[in-house]
Subunit: 324 residues, 3 copies
């Protein structure tokens, strides 16, 4: 492409494409992922009660994409375990993040400048994972765009997509929330990446692989850094999403009134349900004791783990500061 | 077989066996399946909040059999995605059923005569799916009757059997109900079909494939039409089931008294549980606010989604009429 | 090894290694497993309401290891169904344990001497399953220690590890408990066995296969018998576990205080939750009606199904005696 040649970006993109993820970028991915797990509500308690469940959860955060892709393509889901070096690195990271004396590792990595660098490095690994997934599916299902997108998405955002089952390992069950019902930013950006790389691989998108890798990587890194620095969780696609949504999915007029209402509250399956539930809790609370009905209240469900995960990456946590 | 020759049914059965499911019967299957999803409680709200979750749920309704069979036989579960034409047809159907302006498509298809024809056509596809599953398992596990039955059943009634996980996509979780605990009519008829075709393929049943296809198809279509026209959801096997049940599964006398009782109430795991739960709700209700304890009340669980799905196919929904 | 030759144990270990599990040991495994299922809360009711769900649950108890291993290695999960003889034996056992007239089979097998022998025989099958799993993984993933351990563990303790999903078949859902969060004795001993056999197969443990089989089998059988006779459920590894735990997983001082506390209560995700929940129930109870909030109360969750399963094998149930 001429533009790339003109801007002398060709060499840069070649250099990026030849970059090895192992070990530095992989380690950054493990650190950021396991820190996101640690910041889930209840995760620290699980790490004390059952280190094994905590380790397994961490591995699902780190290798969830490979596991999900394995299920989808009928390849051994234990395959990530066979890569001893990666597992060893991830396990050491897990141990240091959760059990390091004085909590040194977590507190250092949670400092904004370091977290910014680590998160940016993690974003770089996303490009490689999405592309790897797309190419793998391309090899198995010749020219099936949807399979390529699905596998690229699974590889890149696997940890989020299987989060219901990852939570189950830790004894948490939040059926009312999942990444398909309410997509987080990382899942969205990965889906877009999977679509772009699938189009590029099938030559519908007239770009070279390394050029697209450069564009996508720069976009994700810049966007992630911007979100972390401004503390904003606003999606850069909000306008497009809203336009597409309004054009395509509000055609059936009898339900148009419903739409805004449903968007404002948690998917609660019946407004009365949500309303009386809260009222009921309050009523009993006035009797002297609050009743927690399910492990997850509707409100907690809304600002649930996935969002927490996403947000946790945007803000410097104050946990460590308090301790000092 | 002489009887078939005598009744000149040989040609008819050959004609049926050579019938192509694509595209008309497939489309009927998609329309009826996606309408069944739309009639699930909460499905319309999900379609507004997250079109992607709604689309994924629809695909599980349409291709659930292929997905379940893929898991069982360790073949890629994304394989249905690789059939672009089917996915495209199912997606268009999904879009029209959920988002068509004025809700034209759903309201037309919900009219009894049209729904009757579509449901009958969907029943025809069942024969092909069950037979396909049996033959596929026959090729992989030579002469293993149970695997053939399991795979034929999975292919033909997959959407129902994985309904717990399909609901999870929409944020609904009803662990107290599944197709094994309380089989719906479509699941039952598919199981019978799978047994018959497995016996026929292993030559225990002295019939030719196309003859059995004719018999089974006629039976399912006639039975379905009868159920829709009379509005009855009575299983045609109720008498046999009851006899088998009484003969085989009530032998252990100490529990005989338990049996009738347990059949009458929801599987509630402890009578006291169910009783006090209802009492508790009422008690609090009198205090001014009803408490909805779990996303699904025991009563709702009983008349839950699977039954709703089954019933929804038997009766002409009044939704559209109200709007007029 | 000289010690084995010296003690004339070489022939004994060869004899053990050549022992066929089929049919006597397999039948003992089926009987003990299905009795454990029958002793789960609610299982008897399910057996009356839906014999099919009960049968499917029983098969998961008997062949759960093969199913889990199939999922992990991307091999057909229906494979156990293709072994007609095993399925037939397990099905007959299931029928006799649940539906035998006068409940003769269950009551006889529940007598301590017979149960002791059956449980000891079941422990013997564990050795074969773990070794089988380790060897199978060794063949597929050359020298990957972790995959070998994982597959050996899955094969030997599969029924426990997938218990959440086995319960789902019976309409029970207990997300707050799983074998990773709170390992039962059988799961622990299987994990240790998987580690030992994996080390032995990769020659890190300088023992011959049949010698390790003898040592491991004797250890599990003796330990199981001791636990059943003394009624103790104390793990023989409690001291080692405690030492390892204190050394490795309490490094991060700010949470040290948390540790003991969290171990004493159910993993409840918030002390307040657990506390107020109990208080709330009591409060309402005083109003005249107890409220059962979720299908499983936190207390029941703690002494939940997996522990019940384990304990049920240690004590002679008094069920049958009452009836006499």
């Amino acid at each position: 492409m001429d533009l790339f040649g003109l801007l002398h970006l060709d060499e840069l993109s070649h250099g990026l494409a030849n970059l090895s993820m192992f070990p530095y970028f992989d380690i950054a991915h493990y650190i950021v992922s396991i820190m996101a797990l640690r910041e889930q509500p209840g995760a620290l308690e699980v790490s004390r009660v059952s280190p094994l469940a905590c380790w397994f959860s961490s591995m699902l955060f780190c290798f969830g994409g490979a596991v999900l892709s394995g299920i989808m393509l009928a390849e051994p889901v234990v395959a990530p375990l066979s890569n001893s070096t990666s597992i060893l690195l991830a396990s050491i990271t897990w141990y240091l993040v959760f059990y390091c004396p004085m909590d040194l590792v977590y507190c250092s990595a949670a400092l904004l400048p370091l977290r910014l660098v680590l998160s940016a490095m993690k974003e770089v690994t996303r490009t490689w994972k999405v592309l790897g997934g797309v190419i793998q599916a391309h090899g198995k299902f010749k020219d099936s765009l949807l399979v390529m997108i699905a596998n690229g998405w699974a590889k890149g955002a696997g940890g989020g997509l299987i989060s219901n089952f990852e939570q189950l390992v830790r004894g948490v069950w939040k059926p009312e929330t999942n990444e398909l019902l309410k997509m987080s930013y990382p899942t969205k950006i990965t889906l877009i990446g999977a679509v772009l790389f699938a189009l590029q691989q099938t030559h519908y998108l007239p770009l070279q692989t390394h050029h697209l890798m450069l564009i996508y990587t720069v976009f994700t890194v810049v966007n992630k850094s911007r979100m972390m620095l401004t503390g904003s969780s606003a999606s850069p696609f909000a306008v497009i999403e809203s336009a597409v949504y309004k054009t395509l999915f509000t055609g059936s007029s009898p339900y148009a009134a419903l739409t805004d209402e449903t968007k404002n509250r948690c998917i609660d399956h019946g407004a009365t349900n949500g309303a009386t539930s809260t009222a009921g809790t309050k009523e009993i609370g006035e009797n002297g004791a609050a009743v927690k009905k399910t492990p997850v209240s509707p409100v907690k469900g809304q600002s649930g783990s996935l969002k927490a995960k996403e947000e946790s990456e945007n803000a410097d946590k104050t946990d460590c500061k308090k301790k000092k």
